[in-house]
Symmetry: C2
Subunit: 211 residues, 2 copies
């Protein structure tokens, strides 16, 4: 099963979108105004999700669309993830999921947790950041020059947090979501190893644009 | 006791900073590169916090400075909040606390929770958003045209969540941090009433810039 890539209506740098490491097997969903980003980049989605008001020029010919009432419990991004899960996808990338609207950014962060609860890996990626969550697991992250690695507790507490191959290592540490101890670490080795045993850990890789 | 306003090094719209509703009694702290924003806006802080590397032109004459080693557990924003708490402030506004670096934005969100745990009200404000947290309390928010109101569970669960005076009311509802049910509500009455009984609720007021 390939990836499900959802393009949302948040801010989305065109160069980032075009340079994104697209794969042949990607199933591309445009959520709401995400279609504007896709169209501008010459990307043809496999599915459109959103209410018809979002598509001022009508639905593009030949692309399946799932329409919904504007008054609903699910954001369009959440609907897209639910649709991807229903189709069997367990590997998601959410683009256009961040930007000036913090309400949407936070909703999309929570959507990563939703995916995790349903056995899926969900990554939010934008021009400057990659954001995901880890639960009862270990992940290996390659060093990318100019990027910082941060870990945060998403749940009130995370236990058994270990970071190896970094400037400020952690061994079986406890993190809480009221003290961002894990901010701005640096990967020194070829790769870093991140482990969490209890709780959900947010992993953020952010670019230092000043360099 | 007045407010403690911290100006951080994130993105900060100059017009927003100058138009900000400053009060005579505000105690202004610049955290790290936040001083660049302040200087550009003609704002003189009461205190500078950060390592000396941040101030390429040296510390401005006459402004007290707390310097620290770059290798530390606290972010400069956290140090500023801790300093404000130590001086007795319980009402904080964090500016320059959001922007393209999601790691810093999330750390600053967690700093709101830190303040709350220490009996303080902390608001993050930028050009498009106001963000705070509520715990075992009720708050009344005035309607501002063109802004959406969202509520999210910060803890795994929030119980006894009630929203009144809004398009999609809630009564004694449960929210979780893996499903952003409370996204994008609208205040219909003169003001909305937000209550949470168990857990910590994030409140986000965001501007719809498309209008």
């Amino acid at each position: 099963m390939g990836r499900c890539v959802v393009i949302g209506a948040g801010e989305l740098d065109q160069k980032f979108l075009q340079d994104f490491s697209w794969r042949e097997q990607d199933f591309i969903i445009c959520a709401d105004g995400g279609f504007s980003h896709a169209r501008q980049a010459g990307i043809r989605p496999d599915l459109l999700i959103g209410d018809q008001d979002s598509y001022s020029e009508g639905f593009p010919q030949g692309i399946p669309a799932l329409t919904c009432r504007p008054e609903k419990d699910d954001s369009d991004m959440m609907l897209a993830v639910k649709e991807g899960l229903a189709r069997g996808y367990r590997d998601f990338v959410l683009l256009g999921a961040t930007g000036g609207r913090f309400d949407h950014t936070l909703a999309n962060l929570q959507t990563i947790a939703y995916g995790l609860a349903h056995g899926a890996f969900v990554l939010i990626a934008d021009r400057d950041n990659m954001i995901t969550m880890l639960q009862n697991d270990t992940v290996v992250l390659p060093r990318i020059n100019g990027y910082y690695l941060s870990v945060f507790s998403y749940t009130e507490v995370c236990d058994g947090v270990s970071l190896e191959g970094v400037k400020y290592p952690l061994q079986q540490a406890r993190l809480t979501n009221w003290f961002p101890l894990g901010l701005s670490n640096e990967i020194l080795a070829e790769s870093a190893r991140v482990t969490v045993q209890e709780g959900i850990l947010v992993i953020v890789v952010s670019k230092d644009r000043r360099r």
